[in-house]
Symmetry: C2
Subunit: 350 residues, 2 copies
């Protein structure tokens, strides 16, 4: 899908990019994510630098907790979508998109720290969770700190754009409460599931992309909605893939125990689809706690049921919708790279 170099660079910052890309010392990309990363390599580097800067606090312990989570990596899918979307809309002053990407990653990280408290997680990204390493009190405060930093960064955007970011934050909290309403609750429907995922995951993708697209001041204003729509579907795809991996991956690949959704009574997509067809499974889902043996049995039963394939199909549908949303945008390497990145998301569960 990559059809050659991006359009002519604009301004000094873009020239540097072209120089970087032309640097033959760089390893040629071997997969779409690497290609995408290379297209916005400087911006991604700026995101990491800025993240490092804004994690600094007058309290070293605060920086340590934030760094414990953020330096553990994560896939940085949100920054990548934001940065590519910004470029695909013709954005040229990359510092704007970098700030959006940083704010997004901070809000996402704050929500992970708080989620670890809510879900009592002991591990995260293959290491001890902040909660288990630093305790509830400091983990909670570090989440608030990251959120405040995001708020600070967003301050220089327009009122409308800040409202979009705030809406995503509000949706996150409402998603958390909605999810808890359906914890161990076999009444949960596919629509409930999609609403929870929209609030908890897709909304932040959507609003972040919307802000960065708006900051790009695109030639055609409808591109802002196109990018936001794309990012919303990316968020849905991303979460569905995550749900499937919780059922099918190896613990070492996952960085956390397999079958967590079953253990915690989370209405993940495979569970929602499986319990609709299987009364016994529904009863097991309603149980407040399951033995390891029961968890294993539930996992096996769900894997055999055929719903994993249904989940894969739904992930592919949302990935296609995300790609199709980009159709109105001009044909650039950025748009193609975004398409390829979306394609790669679904190869994780293909």
């Amino acid at each position: 899908m990559i059809r050659g170099p991006p359009a002519a660079p604009v301004g000094p910052h873009r020239r540097t990019h072209t120089d970087r890309r032309a640097n033959t010392a760089r390893t040629p990309p071997d997969n779409p994510a690497a290609t995408a990363a290379l297209l916005v390599a400087d911006e991604l580097e700026s995101v990491e630098t800025r993240l490092g800067e804004v994690l600094s606090s007058r309290e070293p312990r605060m920086t340590e907790i934030a760094d414990h989570l953020i330096s553990a990596g994560g896939k940085r899918v949100r920054p990548m979508v934001t940065l590519l979307g910004f470029r695909a809309c013709g954005g040229s002053v990359a510092i704007d998109a970098v700030d959006v990407a940083v704010a997004l990653e901070l809000i996402h990280s704050a929500s992970l720290l708080h989620d670890d408290i809510i879900d009592e997680n002991d591990t995260r990204r293959g290491r001890a969770s902040a909660r288990s390493k630093y305790g509830i009190a400091h983990t909670l405060v570090a989440g608030d700190f990251l959120f405040s930093r995001a708020f600070q960064i967003c301050g220089r955007f327009d009122a409308e754009q800040i409202n979009w970011a705030a809406e995503a934050c509000i949706a996150l909290t409402e998603g958390e409460i909605m999810q808890s309403r359906f914890r161990n609750n076999p009444e949960v429907t596919l629509d409930d599931y999609l609403e929870i995922v929209y609030r908890k995951t897709a909304s932040l993708f959507e609003q972040g992309a919307r802000i960065s697209a708006a900051l790009a001041r695109p030639q055609d204003p409808s591109w802002v909605d196109a990018i936001a729509n794309c990012a919303r579907h990316v968020g849905l795809t991303f979460q569905i893939v995550d749900d499937v991996l919780d059922m099918t991956a190896d613990e070492s690949d996952l960085g956390k125990p397999v079958g967590l959704d079953i253990r915690e009574g989370n209405p993940s997509l495979p569970i929602v689809l499986a319990i609709a067809e299987d009364r016994e499974l529904a009863d097991l889902f309603a149980a407040e706690s399951l033995s390891d043996g029961e968890v294993g049995a539930v996992l096996a039963r769900i894997r055999r049921s055929g719903v994993i394939e249904d989940c894969q199909r739904l992930a592919i549908e949302h990935a296609r919708a995300a790609q199709q949303a980009l159709a109105p945008l001009p044909d650039t390497a950025y748009r193609d790279s975004l398409c390829a990145l979306i394609e790669q998301l679904i190869t994780r569960v293909a």
Copy 2:
């Protein structure tokens, strides 16, 4: 100190105010807080209305938790200082100051919800704390929700003003971590104490007042700093008074158990001053947990030590500094009322 009616009203909103104040059916004020409240009665009413509106969520449980805390009252000192400061600077479009006051109260409320988790409080404002009523997970999320709403409201302010609000939020989190460094730590000094209180309490007073004063577009720009400086001292006075009341008040007046700071190892002002002079008290403060008898003995020993009087003196000093900070402002009923309100703060411990 009240020297007659405020200066001539400007604009339709202000006319309504004058009408309200001229309404002879109103009970005449019997204390400075009532006078202050009457001067900004419509604005305070708008604050309550706006608070009610922004607490609404797609998740009724969220609204319930937020309402549980916010409808329990609280003294609304922050809104009052913000609104009077705005008027004292000649501000006329009250909706601006109302929004600042609402955002401030939301940030303060969010921090109380999170504090109840951090300090494991069972009571707050004379009733069950949200944490003990709704559990850690939902209380945490409701705090994030209130914080997001504040973020949303602040979105329409200038970048610089949003930065001030974000700085206050960051200071809050850093104050929390700093306080925990000195929990049960007899090395704590008066300077440490003042820095903790600045971060945890005074900074939000200061930055809220700074924003509302700036929104008033005062004739003399230096009034913004004057009001901010005043509000910072109000915050310090407020916390010192709170610390003293924790040692001297009745449980029924306080709405929470007496001696909580001793029990929790919080470096409150009486404790900080007392342990500097009394090695045995310092050792008791260093103990991770004390029996009820020991708490009673420590309280009695601190009350006998004379530090309560030192605390009262310090509270009065900060109250005076707050009042003196207002000297550059024009002589209006708003300024006088703010002075009287500050005076009343210290009568609680006089």
